[in-house]
Symmetry: C2
Subunit: 264 residues, 2 copies
């Protein structure tokens, strides 16, 4: 992968025009066979079913019945295509039902995003440093901010809370999604993989089981409780609830650790 995973490079004007679907009107030359929308749809389909690595310009063009280089008529480079795909997928998210409990709203938004990442695992492999400045990505951000608006946070705190929840959701979803992907690609469940690995580990004297007593104990407990090495959805919901507990304390002004200084 010697090319960009995403933009933030590239001509901002062209990228933004593509994202918002405003076309410089070309009124000469042959009728285009495709539209940008079709290309994005096909690309998302390919990425969903075969992974982002399978989404090559050649494969995409093949699926659309067109020569590879033809796509460059519509899109400056693969990076911009990824921007368009991300913004399109953000459009799958919708406004949550109104609620007077901000916790409920934030939870719904987080779970919606969690599900979106599972429907489109490749999203989490894209660079998120500079989000595409498209309508749906903006709408997502606005929705998230409005969920914590007027609950007693400063502007800066609102910003931080949204960023924190997003970071958490993405971090947890990545683990979940990758683990599911590995099962598919390797044909081995996590448990089978562990069962294949554990005996080998046991043969290695340096890897004395006594060295990592907690890991052994907790691993055992978690495995028995979940029937798997991990239970991502459970952990996600548990963690989100803790985070919201923490935010709630901030709102009500009872943060237990607020006065604690960090050493160093």
């Amino acid at each position: 992968m010697t090319y960009a995973d995403h933009t933030g490079t590239g001509d901002p004007r062209r990228t933004i025009e593509l994202l918002w679907g405003v076309r410089g009107k070309p009124r000469r030359g042959p009728k285009p066979k495709l539209t940008v929308e079709e290309i994005v749809t096909a690309a998302i389909g390919l990425a969903d079913s075969e992974g982002i690595a399978a989404l090559s310009v050649r494969r995409g063009a093949e699926q659309l019945g067109v020569s590879p280089m033809s796509l460059y008529t519509y899109i400056p480079s693969r990076a911009e295509l990824l921007d368009l795909m991300m913004d399109r997928v953000h459009g799958e998210l919708t406004d949550p039902p109104p609620s007077d409990e901000w916790r409920v709203t934030v939870t719904i938004l987080a779970e919606d995003a969690w599900e979106m990442y599972h429907r489109h695992p490749w999203l989490l492999q894209l660079t998120t440093g500079r989000l595409p400045l498209g309508p749906h990505t903006f709408a997502k951000h606005e929705r998230e901010l409005s969920a914590v608006d007027a609950i007693g946070l400063t502007d800066l705190e609102m910003d931080a809370v949204v960023a924190m929840v997003n970071g958490f959701v993405q971090g947890m979803a990545r683990g979940s999604v990758e683990s599911a992907g590995l099962v598919r690609r390797s044909g081995m469940t996590d448990v089978e993989w562990w069962n294949a690995s554990a005996p080998v580990l046991a043969e290695i004297p340096e890897a004395d089981a006594g060295l990592f007593p907690l890991a052994a104990r907790i691993g055992q407990s978690a495995g028995e409780a979940h029937g798997a090495a991990s239970a991502p959805l459970h952990t996600f919901r548990f963690g989100l609830a803790r985070i919201l507990d923490g935010v709630e304390q901030l709102v009500t002004g009872e943060a237990p650790g607020a006065d604690r200084e960090l050493p160093s």
Copy 2:
């Protein structure tokens, strides 16, 4: 990138033997020019300075003064090399000074990891679904568990808290690291990029500023306060503190949202 970012595929025995440095003793044939350790060191150096995309087998071999295919004598594939690199880097983490406040310990561990991800940004591009079963990765996990041991959590809660903190750290570090990487690659700071994009957005009638009032207001506030579009370290510390507040409530049994049911 048509190849695996990481293992979990591949012969577990061979991978584990490599990770723990136990060598099947070959006592015939020419003396090896290299060691696995040298290869891993060179690979990490390359990935640190030029990014994971620059770490090709050919580049690595070149740096070591050896032909590309020679590396396959030491390592079954690039995926295993990535495993080895990850475990090696996990070895940079150390035990935190003893403390009787678990919050302090967890905070130090999280900040250490945060820094590690910034030293080695490529870590966050590796698949984390199945961590390498190497000594340092185990030690990291054991350390994290022991930070929340005997503070009043069940085994399952310990597991979930560690997973949640790790997910959070990784999610936030990814944003931070990628934004820094984009600055380097594109030669444009976030602010410059935004300044180049905003006027274009303003020209687009569909992107009416009134559509996203909160995003506009908060963006403004955050920009003024931080002198940048985002302040990752600040957000990271803020979020971590909220998370630990939430965990603390769980420990002391005063979770405000614990009895709330999730709709749907």
